[in-house]
Amino acid sequence: MRLLVLLLLIAFLAAGVLLGALNADLVGYDLGFARIQLPKGAGLLGSLVIGWLLGGLTAWFGVSTGHRRQQRKANKKPAAGA
């Protein structure tokens, strides 16, 4: 299983390198406050990474907030019962 994951990882890495090499031409981005020029591949990879990170952070924040709320409720219960 671990070998399969490793092979998949290498394949995706190779595909990323290949995609980056094939799409090396620059694309311009107007962010409103700045203008930047990035290779096509880097732009795609960057947006994927940013999206993935944002999604992960949102899920983590949601779960940890829920846990904290439950903990607070549990702490309040005995005090109310006493």
């Binding site: 990474v49 940013i50 999206g51 999604g55 992960g56 952070l57 949102t58 702490n75 006493a82």
Partner: protein
């Protein structure tokens, strides 16, 4: 243009993938922790149920290390240490809990209560008393704290404070503590009697009766006071009232009652009372008392006839020994020797027998105690009814 479309589609897809991955990882992580904690908890519980306290302590210690905020685990551990007699460890654990910052008030007072019990167990009664008094003042776990305080005052034989706190407990919980208070007044009366303060003893007895109108011990003490004053008629009245209050104490009441009958020359009244008692009380004590009375008044033959008839209805080793003693003079030779062996055998049988048993905890005793030495309950030690006992 087509590349920008690809980017617009890639960001939400990556977002969804990241969200899903994080969620899954979180669930797996907390699930693993919970299952490990709960399996440890049940393992500990299992050890506890199997009375394997060493192993239970090991598991709970591990649990407490996992999560230093788990107050309940620490409390359970402290309890276990105390029950195993490792009071110093229990004290350290509960002291640590009490001093922990951020612990809510409810848990802190529980830890204080436990610490007080540790001190009691360690014999540090002054510290335990101070803690329980604070808890009562804070109105936190006040009934439990009051019960512990009463136990401390009983141990120190400070009956006035014990009465005061029993009264507070009664007001607080609405439970009837009057039988216990009556016993405390009896203790005070007994102490006064021993010190020769007879009128003070009578005052305490009056308070005992005010607490519990049918207090057997107070009646018995009243009888004893009258008997010591030479007022045997009044003593008889008091002892008879004691029997009426609780017939179970007949074996303890009969000897001084019979003595008072004899000194006040009321043997006719004694016979009448004992005859009446035979119907209400199924022990052997009234039978033996009547046998003795008949032997003195009518001779051995009538006494043996009465005893034989009674033993058929209520077989008893003590009754049989009395029968052997009464018939020993009439037999001789080998039969006499056999009777002597039989008598010796029965004496040894009775020697090892507990005559009283606590109805709460089952503690067996040869002599009567008003407070059970084991469970510390009052008036729960009663005569055992059986062939070899009462």
């Amino acid at each position: 243009m087509s590349f920008l479309y690809l980017l617009v589609m890639a960001v939400p897809a990556a977002f969804a993938l990241g969200w899903w991955t994080s969620r899954r990882a979180g669930v797996r992580r907390s699930g693993a922790k919970v299952s490990e904690l709960s399996s440890d908890y049940f393992r500990g519980l299992n050890y506890l149920l199997n009375e394997e306290q060493d192993k239970a302590i090991e598991v709970f210690l591990k649990l407490a290390e996992y999560n230093r905020d788990t107050v309940e685990t620490h409390l359970a551990l402290g309890n276990l240490f105390r029950r195993r007699g490792e009071v110093d460890r229990a004290i350290r654990l509960h002291q640590h809990l009490v001093s922990r910052p951020g612990l809510n008030d409810a848990m802190k007072t529980v830890a204080l209560l436990e610490l007080g019990e540790d001190y009691m167990r360690a014999g540090l009664l002054d510290r335990a008393e101070a803690l329980f008094r604070d808890l009562v003042a804070m109105d936190a776990h006040a009934p439990s704290a009051l019960r512990h305080l009463i136990a401390i005052y009983q141990h120190e034989r400070d009956w006035h404070k014990a009465i005061e706190h029993a009264r507070r407990l009664e007001t607080m919980t609405g439970e009837d503590e009057t039988p216990m208070m009556a016993q405390f007044y009896c203790e005070l009366a007994e102490r006064s009697r021993q010190h020769g303060a007879r009128s003070e003893a009578r005052d305490y007895l009056a308070q005992a009766f005010a607490s519990q109108a049918q207090c057997v011990r107070a009646y018995m003490l009243t009888g004893r006071l009258h008997s010591e004053d030479g007022a045997y008629d009044a003593a008889v009245e008091a002892y008879e009232a004691a029997v009426e209050a609780d017939v179970a104490f007949v074996p303890d009441i009969l000897p001084p009652l019979l003595d008072s009958y004899e000194r006040s020359r009321q043997m006719g009244r004694a016979e009448h009372f004992l005859r009446g008692l035979l119907d209400r009380y199924h022990g052997v004590s009234p039978v033996l008392a009547l046998t003795n009375l008949y032997r003195q008044r009518d001779g051995d033959r009538q006494a043996v006839e009465f005893l034989t008839a009674q033993l058929r209805q209520r077989p008893s080793v003590r009754g049989l020994m009395t029968l052997i003693d009464a018939t020993m003079d009439k037999i001789d030779g080998e039969a006499r020797e056999n009777f002597q062996i039989l008598r010796e055998l029965m004496r040894k049988l009775l020697e090892g027998q507990a005559m009283y048993r606590c109805s709460r905890c089952g503690f067996g005793a040869k002599a009567h105690h008003w407070q059970c030495p084991s469970c510390k309950n009052w008036s729960t030690i009663r005569p055992i009814h059986g062939v070899a006992n009462e």
